[in-house]
């Protein structure tokens, strides 16, 4: 499935191809022609991570609120399932997902009949993979945030006639907002970086399912250090901005 790698970028030197108006300085310093780099993996990763973060927020907030407040059957089971991806090796997780969501599995068939195509080895599968990293992270952070909301505030809202949904939307969520926002940014960053699960269920199809992490692996495998450096530098910059964002957001007032 790889590797046309060398075909979709050119590496400095005497290459006579048309130069796009890319930063010439970078090119001069690193010898890497950024304009010729295929940035598809970056856009794909950003898109996958964004969708995964939104999906995970929905799943994570609902589960976290239930875990923080509910006394229901299967609570421990839900909690264990949501923690499992943290301790399970990504390849194992990816393998099981491949079995579970593959074209011949019941879930895979349902997906195919609804969406008209298989899930595995599509970019949507990369979203699923990313969710498995983002959800546990969000659940843990959001649960701690919900549990730190003064239960008396929620009871006060109830005694003022608020339904459970209104309590959640107007009291619990706004008061937990800051921690949850930080967790969402964190989850976004984590979603950008999945490798193991993505490669198992989404594969490494350049221009279709090749995310940043996979592309970096690919570049290293094909001995393209400059490309690997460029992509890795972008990831590092993203990671640092995420940390900076969490830090500055966290130092503002608590709500």
């Amino acid at each position: 499935m790889r590797s046309r790698s060398t075909a979709w970028f050119s590496c400095g030197g005497a290459d006579a191809r048309i130069q796009p108006p890319a930063p010439r300085i970078i090119r001069a310093v690193t010898g890497l022609d950024l304009g010729a780099v295929d940035w598809f993996p970056l856009w794909l990763s950003l898109r996958v991570a964004a969708i995964a973060t939104v999906l995970s927020l929905a799943i994570g907030l609902a589960s976290a609120y239930a875990l923080a407040h509910g006394r229901f059957r299967g609570r421990d089971l839900l909690e264990s399932l949501l923690t499992l991806p943290i301790v399970l090796p990504p390849t194992v997780l990816g393998y099981y997902l491949l079995v579970l969501l593959g074209r011949s599995s019941p879930l895979g068939e349902i997906y195919e009949s609804v969406f008209g195509g298989p899930l595995v080895f599509t970019w949507q599968a990369a979203v699923v993979a990313a969710c498995f990293h983002a959800v546990p992270l969000l659940v843990r952070a959001a649960r701690a945030a919900f549990e730190s909301v003064d239960a008396n505030l929620e009871n006060a809202a109830r005694s003022l006639g608020a339904s459970e949904w209104r309590v959640f939307r107007r009291v619990s969520l706004p008061l937990a907002r800051r921690s949850i926002a930080a967790a969402a940014v964190f989850a976004f960053a984590r979603s950008l970086g999945d490798f193991g699960v993505t490669i198992m269920i989404a594969g490494n199809i350049p221009g279709r399912t090749q995310t940043m992490s996979v592309a970096i692996y690919d570049a290293v495998q094909s001995g393209d250090a400059l490309l690997a450096n460029a992509l890795a530098a972008v990831m590092l910059a993203l990671a640092l901005s995420v940390l900076w964002f969490i830090k500055t957001a966290g130092t503002e007032r608590a709500y």
């Binding site: 003064d150 008396n152 505030l153 009871n155 006060a156 809202a157 109830r158 005694s159 003022l160 006639g161 608020a162 339904s163 209104r166 107007r170 009291v171 706004p174 008061l175 709500y255």
Partner: protein, 362 residues
């Protein structure tokens, strides 16, 4: 009218002993105080009525509406109970202004009515100056007024207040009592106040339920309970330490007297129907005891006692004697006594109270 029978038990856990609440109460108009030491189940009672805690058994009804019934499985959620709840800490929503807090409570009203009620509350409770501010930006007294105003927006049928004066200084406490008085006058909503402060119960309540160890051991007006505690336990909860066990020596119905004998002393109390030889327990109220510094001989009807300690209070001095008796003297008497350790006391019949529950027991 609230009628409640509440049963709830907690098994022993690390850090807290087993506890079991079993109370039955009926609360009508005016202010009812739940008085008792911490951990007696007062707040738990309130939370069960409000619907924050589900009792293991019992029945709660408010104005004929069943809020909870373990037998028929009724358990109205808190939002439908029409009980206003004032928490120890104000629980104003910190992310909303005072006005938004009031508006939150009026959810579901049509907007004209909501506006009318919010404006009315702002005016009545003098919130106008800071209605646009967040709770963190206003003072403790202002927060307390805002929180009370918020509970009234929905026109609750019952108001529940958990230690409302907690953490307020003396001035704010008085202001709070005025506000509660105002609520009682203007809204006429039956109110239950949890308190472990006897003065607070006296200033606020028409009716008092005395809590101890998850039970209600006595009820009545605060004055009634204070003057006629039903048992040695009740007396101790009311701060009366001079509790004695003894035996009835005889009764003199004509003179209206009962003679009591403990292992230490003999004393006369007002007439109570006891048989000679019956065990009784009784208390001697400090306010009724006459104490004078010993000056040579012991006057008639006086007994010699020895001072253990003197406690200065705002208007008077409370003397505790080695004999487990207490007396209250004026500041002048105390000043003249110049720290004397030997005193004599006279115990008039009115100062002695024989517990109805103490008779024949022990």
């Amino acid at each position: 009218m609230l009628e409640a029978r509440i049963e709830k038990g907690f098994a022993e856990r690390s850090g807290s002993a087993a506890f079991d609440l079993s109370v039955e109460l009926a609360v009508g108009d005016g202010v009812t105080a739940l008085f008792g030491p911490s951990g007696a189940g007062k707040t738990l009672t309130l939370a069960a009525i409000a619907g924050f805690v589900r009792p293991a058994g019992g029945r709660i009804s408010l104005n004929g509406r069943v809020l909870f019934d373990s037998e028929s499985g009724v358990d109205e959620p808190a939002r439908n109970r029409r009980c206003g709840y004032l928490f120890q800490n104000d629980t104003l929503f910190p992310h909303m202004s005072v006005r938004e807090n009031l508006e939150f409570a009026g959810h579901g009203l049509d907007s004209a009515e909501l506006h009318r009620r919010v404006e009315e509350a702002i005016e009545r409770f003098r919130l106008g100056r800071f209605a646009a501010r967040r709770p963190e930006q206003i003072s403790g007294g202002e927060r307390r007024r805002s929180a009370i105003a918020r509970t009234l927006i929905r026109r609750p049928e019952l108001l529940l207040m958990d230690e409302p004066a907690q953490g307020l200084d003396v001035g704010l406490r008085r202001e709070l009592y005025c506000t509660i008085e105002q609520v009682r006058r203007e809204y006429r909503v039956p109110t239950i106040v949890v308190t472990h402060n006897l003065d607070e119960a006296f200033s606020l309540a028409d009716h008092m339920l005395l809590y101890s160890g998850g039970r209600i051991i006595q009820h009545g007006s605060p004055r009634e309970i204070y003057n006629r505690p039903g048992s040695a336990e009740a007396a101790r909860l009311l701060g009366i330490d001079a509790v004695f066990d003894g035996e009835a020596k005889g009764v003199d119905e004509a003179a209206g007297l009962t003679r009591l004998q403990t292992s230490e002393f003999a004393i006369e109390a007002a007439f109570v129907a006891v048989n000679p030889g019956e065990r009784v327990s009784f208390c001697i109220r400090a306010e009724g005891v006459v104490a004078v510094p010993r000056n040579g001989s012991i006057p008639e009807r006086h007994a010699a006692v020895r001072l253990r300690r003197a406690r200065q209070e705002a208007e008077q001095v409370r003397l505790d004697f080695v004999e487990n008796l207490s007396a209250v003297v004026t500041r002048e008497t105390w000043a003249e006594a110049q720290g004397a350790e030997d005193w004599t006391v006279e115990i008039p019949v009115e100062a002695v109270w024989v517990f109805p529950d103490g008779r024949g027991g022990r």
